[in-house]
């Protein structure tokens, strides 16, 4: 089963940066960014998100979508409602920290881990300790 990731942010730079960071440890996993508005300002565009979901779903069985704050989430939920049913069935919105969650999911997907385990790891990734002192 091929799993792709979509990173949604208000900021194009942030979305691209997350993809850059995450891709480094996730060879063979398709990861796309969608962020910002057409005119370069901050924001999320449901139509652009739905197009990115559709394009990833054409070549993959599952599209895991990671979102930043506020309208990143609402716009992604809206994007789901714009999808054709066959695409919609492949897309999952993941309730996870953007950086930690997408990183965990990409590494797991790259290692061929099962979907349920990937989702569990991604959802818990933001809760891991960073400081142990």
């Amino acid at each position: 089963m091929s799993i792709a990731l979509l990173v949604v942010s208000h900021s194009k730079m942030l979305a691209l940066g997350v993809v850059e960071l995450v891709s480094q440890m996730a060879k063979g996993v398709r990861i796309e960014a969608v962020g910002g508005m057409e005119d370069g300002t901050l924001g999320t565009d449901s139509v652009a998100i739905s197009e990115a979901m559709t394009s990833l779903a054409m070549e993959n069985d599952i599209v895991l979508t990671f979102m930043d704050l506020g309208s990143g989430v609402i716009s992604s939920q809206m994007a789901l409602d714009l999808l054709e049913d066959d695409v919609k069935g492949k897309v999952r919105l993941v309730d996870a920290s953007l950086v930690e969650g997408s990183f965990a999911a990409a590494v797991m997907a790259s290692a061929g881990v099962e979907l349920d385990e990937i989702l569990r790891q991604a959802e818990n990734a933001g809760k891991r300790n960073k400081l142990f002192d």
Partner: protein, 211 residues
């Protein structure tokens, strides 16, 4: 008296001008308790609607007007949470109208009711959380009561406008528990909600453009 799609076009054009004029006011409110882009976002979104309306060579039916011209345009141009929220408002409204050029008063109210339900579902919002729903919900209820009581659409919107403005002002008295402002908690008290305010403006524009 039915609402004609030509009137609806004038209302939408007036709304675009209204949000241009109130861009700074709404953005100032949003700067205090949000991400400071509400006025800019609405001005850009309705500006895009204006562009589509002015470039259309023929009359546009209500279904297309709500679904494509308003709904899809706001989704792809607003940027903040208002994009999917208002986009949903219009797309749910569109489901209540056929491709017709006139809506009865009752149809107009049904569209607003469906839009409100759509916004509440999309934003997982209820009244009292300091969001646009706080103005929209009581205003739509007044539209329904007024039309059921045999009042004209103009009278209904005049009453709904009053209720929406009062509700928007009242949002200053309590803390946000939904949306970006909820990160501020108690510190959001004292500022009225930009979404509730822009919603009140929408009812005002309807009221002032109906005869």
């Amino acid at each position: 008296m039915p609402l004609h799609s030509k009137q609806m076009k004038e209302i939408l054009l007036a709304l675009a001008d209204c949000y241009d004029q109130n861009k700074e006011y709404l953005t100032d409110l949003d700067n205090k308790i949000g991400d400071g882009d509400h006025g800019i976002n609405l001005s850009r979104g309705y500006g895009a609607i204006r562009g589509k309306l002015l470039s259309a060579s023929e009359d546009i039916d209500f279904n297309k007007l709500y679904k494509t011209i308003c709904g899809m345009t706001l989704l792809s141009t607003v940027g903040g949470a208002s994009g999917p929220l208002l986009g949903t408002f219009y797309m749910e409204a569109a489901k209540k109208c056929e491709p017709v050029f006139e809506l009865t008063d009752a149809n107009v109210v049904e569209c607003f009711e469906a839009g409100l339900v759509g916004v509440m579902n999309r934003g997982k919002a209820v009244v009292g959380e300091k969001t646009m729903v706080d103005a929209m919900s009581p205003a739509v209820a007044v539209l329904r009561e007024s039309i059921d009581a045999g009042k004209s659409l103009k009278e209904a919107f005049d009453l709904a406008k009053e209720v929406a403005f009062n509700a928007a002002v009242k949002t200053a008295d309590y803390a946000a528990t939904n949306g970006r402002a909820s990160y501020l908690g108690e510190r959001s008290i004292g500022t009225q909600d930009p979404g509730a305010t822009s919603t009140a403006l929408l009812f005002e524009i309807f009221a002032s453009h109906l005869a």
